[in-house]
Symmetry: D3
Subunit: 337 residues, 6 copies
């Protein structure tokens, strides 16, 4: 089995119990996560051989992050130890009409301050089949921006499939900064996860005609993007309607060979924790591509993975391929006994 | 007040908190339960004098099971102590679209290996008015199959009313095995809890005509069964629609004197724990029969009991008759203050 | 900034976790609350300078109540220490169709037995702009009834705006007793929170004509009341539909200058804890009056505050004005990151 | 097996976790206990048939108390339901040099206000062999003082062995009040648990001569008491040295036929919860008397029971006779595996 | 009552439960603390009017810190809101032979980056009687070093008593840096908390003669220091012997008018949490000075306060003066009931 | 780095919190452990490349065991999935004088029923330097007895160093059975962990002369054993004195080249969890042998590792070599900050 490589920051997440607020709490639950780490963890739980590239401090929190990855069978040979701190964020979980709040405390983390030459992508991409990174990684520092582009070029040189998820975070960079960087990145990408708003506001595509349905608009944007970046073979995104913090709908989109494949629309109620659902979706798409399943089944699998993620605490999707497939096929939530 | 007797296995249930998975957990909640124990506990909470017949190991887990029964005022004079282990199961509670998963670890339990002559039904049924057992008990071992039939015969000899709940568990026996045993059992039964699928797949009744409504079909099956087993005076079941692990609908059915009585349809949302709801329903029916309330009120009471069970953790329904009646009559969930 | 004064009892609330019942619990969560304390806490979190007038025992539970108030920046200079016990109540939280149950254990509390001359309202109302009290305070004892009326008269003497919330509790007094006292109170009130049932059953207003809509009826009652008590400038109430303990709808009403202003209707699902929502609403109205915002925005703000309260545990609304305004304006529960 | 009867109040105990203080806590652990209830629970765990006479409110807290008793197989046929509240106390557990603090909130409880004719001791003492009560019961109210004396007289009439534990609580009555009542009680007692300070300050015995050792002094007091009350056949007490809240020494004393039998001195470190240790000791003595074991073994057993109690949370000693005997004989705390 | 002012950083402390390690944990307890905040909190619990000068971010963690201070009745009028983050540290609590480990993550905190002119000491010291600061404050940044000296000068100008605790932290600055700064500070100090090692390694005093007892040596150092800094009227320190993380001895030293007063030696076993014990001691000394109690009683009170702190979780000593005095006088850890 | 291989069963351990008893608990903490798994985990935390050979069921509990191993960087390539159940045990933790109780529920586990040919030791021992197994493995079944001996022979064939720890468990086999099997095993062993009682009761060595000191006796037994089994190069054991479940002393013994090396005697108080301490000791000895450190330092390191284990919950020693060395050298439990 060939290696899958993801590059990114792994953060400590600290969150009170649902129904409690950070400023009134006296204890916090710990989870470790980060977009690319989550994709790696999900793929490892799907049976893939995953290597995560990152840097964590050589202290108990860095060790905790590594333990988390190892518990999920993600290889940490390329997780360097050093620097001063683990990026951290506090999450106050939303319930009903109240939104989830995120307080970042991630500046000056070991990963953010990682040096260009601490990573040897030549070695890393040996025997690799896929490389995944998201827009969060180039956003954290100028060095990381450079490193991300370098890694993608190197991956292409070595014949490794590349995957990029826009993952735009307005607290990390402006739309202009993000757009400029992503435009540099896209020429090296095979699999691209971006949505309508990304195309419009980050890449500056001309707005779709009025009166177009959501689906038509997406086709239009993907078509335009593919004209500009013919190297991109797969586009993917989700339609999410946020009825409340506890109730969402979710539909997966997967555009390949000029055709848009869509999953059924999940009505997700009683949401436990939605963080990481996008990463679960990405992992499902990558799983489908690597294992060569049909676009229909791929987007169905990926969306089922994302929907399942909403039912468990933490950033990580730890469901097996069998569990996800069964969920994609099930009608309802019967007790299995 | 005359004794009510139930016979069955009491198990230790270990479950993580909602939103957590067994393989990632570091602590488990303990509950004790089992179909016939649950019926006994519920009837004791309704004020009945209940005796449970079973066997548990003479160790802290067996003692824990006995403490649970005693706390609910179930008499444990007929719970033998000995054997090697308490049957156990792990329950990963479902949320939203994700189903509850059950992992059985119940083989070789003290109850399963109980010997035929460890129980003296002659003494047990002295001054008894009702005997209840479910299809789980004969399923756990050949000895238990024999003992169940023996107990039912003895009960009939002593003029005790008998109740049998199919409770088919595919992880314990096949449809063929179950059908064969249950056919031996039914001639000794007064109150029978079984549904359409039971009639069809376990008893092999000819399928109801196409185009029949669910309700009509049920009447058809109960009518057929009563022709075959004229000794059965009461049939009962529920219609449950599983929209998700958190949202179900539930309606109670009660067939007596050739007439089907149905409760209103409960729309049960925000389910806390659905395990034991069927046992709560059974206890409500038995309560109605023993206390001589009308079929309409009996099925209404039983379904209310079952609906309430969904709102609390654990297998046991600990609501009083007053609470259940108030719930059956209420319009909504106001604060009472 | 001028002082806001509230007078009332602060209670210890002890509640099991959701899904658990008091008689089966082995641990209880502690919260401190009480109608007027809650209004004070909410107003302090909105940036007001609040003084609470009360009495608590000079023991760790009294200290706990004071710590709670201070943590929320409510001034406790007028909270006397003495007497024998802190009023207590046990709350079994409802879920789904099962209602929340309240067990009061508040008799003989320090507050209930507070003496008339323990409070110097002359000093308390110095530099005060607003005084709020609810119908619970005069209900707890004859002395408190007298003290409440005395306080209101004193407030009017000192030119302090007065606010009264009916808050009828049938476990504390009969409709007749409540009506008689409230009629004595109303002539001293500027801001009055009462609903249709209060007008009908406590004040004995003639029933609104058949066929009137809920909204028309409310206008009719407020109009009648204002004719009787022309001193009352503001009337306020909420329309709440209790679909289940977990799902309610809520709409705020605010009647001023002969015009009824209404908020949008919130559909509140996944309710965490509804206790204190009425107090959150009251605090929002008072905030609007003090800060001179328009009636439309006031009722919108107040109802948003009440809706938010449902999403957190405890009696206290600790949201800031910015958070409430953002919530009032938001469309859905997106993650903010 | 003949009945053992104990009469007393059962209280709800609410305590924060060790190392936390009540006024800073946000959750409390629940235990049920009370001197005579604890003795009953301990004796039931030793295999005796115990009946508890008391009164609790007919609400979830009263039910919780009954569940606790039933879980321990104490019969609650004579526990009346009614009245207004369950007596409660808050316990802030000491650690190291910091003492445990108790805050009583037990006034006006259902038990305290129980009426004389609510209890039929004629029926209760039928087939009883032993009646135990402590000085706390007559201390809670004048009615209870009367009822206690009545019960003791009745017990003697019916040939029931009587046991009385001084259990002086300065928060409930003065030394004078206690002394006067106890002097009325002692003529009806067979088994008396009191110590040197009780003899001196409550009964007013002349002080033992200077220079006497602790042991000699105890012999002197017991000798004097037996001269005054020749009906008392057994005297019992413990010597406890409180080095800190976490470290005590404990030795049991048992005076019978003019001879003082003493257990070894336990050095008890790492105390988990010392509440109920005296009751555990009393239950051990009563067990020894009922089962006719020698005075030496009785005091050894009772002191072992008391020492074990220190190692578990809650008021109740739930160890079996085998466990206590093994502990009395063991040398050290090896793992048994 | 005149104001007491303390200046310093308040940090978030995150710690696993005792017996667990940070890298294996999945939840962390939250406490807020910091040397000068702790002294302020302790003094406020002793009834003093305390103002804390600091800066915290305007986010839920900053609010949490303010809530903590307010709950303890520390005035937060001079706690500025702004900057980027709250200084944080992770504490892995030691047990037995294993030491407590601290992982600092406090760089770039709002306090560290506070600007010189954000604080108006002219206003702050109006009506103040005492100003306390420790060596941690000047250690966190050059700006804070400057601000500390400025504050001390201003305090002396305004006739405010000044207190300085060396509190040397090797993770924050070197002995040379600390020594240089402290030498600048000492001329403005009235009350100085430092020990033998501070005198030797930070101030470079000539080593005491060989063969001197610990007590003699301390007298020698204090005498030398007072010769150099005649402005210092009070010296204070503790002798602590660390037998294990769970067992220490502690003795307080207080040097005034050329005479050394010492408390008894506490043997502190079963330590719950020793963090903040030094601050509790400092608060006790300051309390003695402000309330004019004798040096003997002052050092006895301060050491009792410090010993008590070891018995509760968190950095804050929340004992009242009565509790501390009772503890100082008590013999052992009896239950008070 | 060469592979280290351990063979054994990994069990689920379920335990209530300290101070609680299994039969009264309502939740249990989960840990995974087993003698050889623990040695593997400890060695991996010391930086070794460890492979564990075992079998677990293919269910969430088996996955949980694998996650535990992976989190600690133990390779699970040779952990087979299949069979019916994970061996389980319940541990009621002792405190003070009360011993820890273990309830085994490990029969019919996947490991116990593993077949001879499921393991390919030829492949496993490729590039291996060390193989460790304990007496528990051959005790669980006849098949495992055979497999253990086979593995040891194979290891010797491949030039792999072998280590055997007697670990006698009376609940698994008799002294005779154990002795017979161990005698077959010893000829293949290089490193042997056994104590005086093992030599005497399992191997039947003639008793050491009266009057010999403990140390002399140990030398005598090791000398005798080495005469019989000259292949054994290293003997090791600990002297443990169990003062109570919370207080033990511990000294390590290491006999090599005819010389007994002993560590200092640790006085271990405030024990958190002693399970796994012997495995921690074994891992320390193996670490010393592999990394070629002197016998003196090896036994000092191993005993420090064992002492540290007592301070954390769970079976696993997760301390690094640096932490253990620092502990071995430290004087006391200071806070490091």
């Amino acid at each position: 089995m060939k290696k899958i490589v993801t590059l990114g920051e792994i953060l400590l997440r600290l969150s009170p119990k649902p129904g409690e607020r950070v400023h009134q709490s006296n204890q916090l639950l710990m989870h470790y996560g980060g977009a690319e780490a989550n994709v790696g963890v999900a793929l490892a739980n799907l049976g893939m051989q995953v290597y995560f590239v990152s840097k964590v401090p050589n202290n108990p929190l860095g060790q905790g992050a590594i333990r988390h990855l190892n518990a999920n069978q993600v290889h940490t040979d390329y997780v360097k130890k050093g620097g001063e701190r683990l990026g951290t964020y506090y999450m106050e979980p939303g319930v009903g009409g109240r939104s989830t709040q995120v307080i970042y405390d991630r500046k000056n983390s070991s990963f953010t301050l990682m040096e260009y030459d601490e990573v040897n992508f030549e070695a890393i991409f040996k025997d690799a089949s896929l490389f995944h990174v998201s827009g969060i990684t180039p956003a954290v520092s100028a060095m990381m921006r450079e490193l991300t582009i370098h890694a993608l070029k190197k991956a292409k040189e070595k014949g490794v499939l590349t995957s990029f998820d826009f993952n735009y975070r307005s607290k990390l960079w402006s739309q202009e900064e993000a757009g400029a960087t992503i435009k540099e990145i896209l020429p090296y990408i095979d699999i691209c996860s971006c949505g309508e708003l990304d195309a419009l506001y980050l890449l500056g595509l001309p707005q779709a005609g009025e009166g177009m349905q959501q689906e038509e608009r997406l086709r239009y944007y993907y078509h335009s993007l593919q004209s500009q970046y013919p190297n991109i073979k797969y586009f993917t995104s989700t339609f999410r309607e946020v009825i409340s913090a506890s109730t969402n709908t979710l539909q997966g989109n997967y555009y390949v060979d000029g055709k848009l494949h869509q999953s059924k629309v999940y009505h997700i109620d009683h949401i436990v924790d939605r963080v990481g659902a996008g990463d679960a979706f990405a992992s499902g798409i990558l799983y489908g591509i690597i294992t060569n399943i049909s676009p229909e089944r791929t987007v169905s699998f990926a969306t089922a993975a994302a929907a399942l993620k909403h039912t468990i605490h933490g950033d990580s999707n730890t469901f097996s391929a069998e569990e996800i497939t069964a969920f994609a096929n099930q009608e309802s939530g019967k007790i299995v006994r």
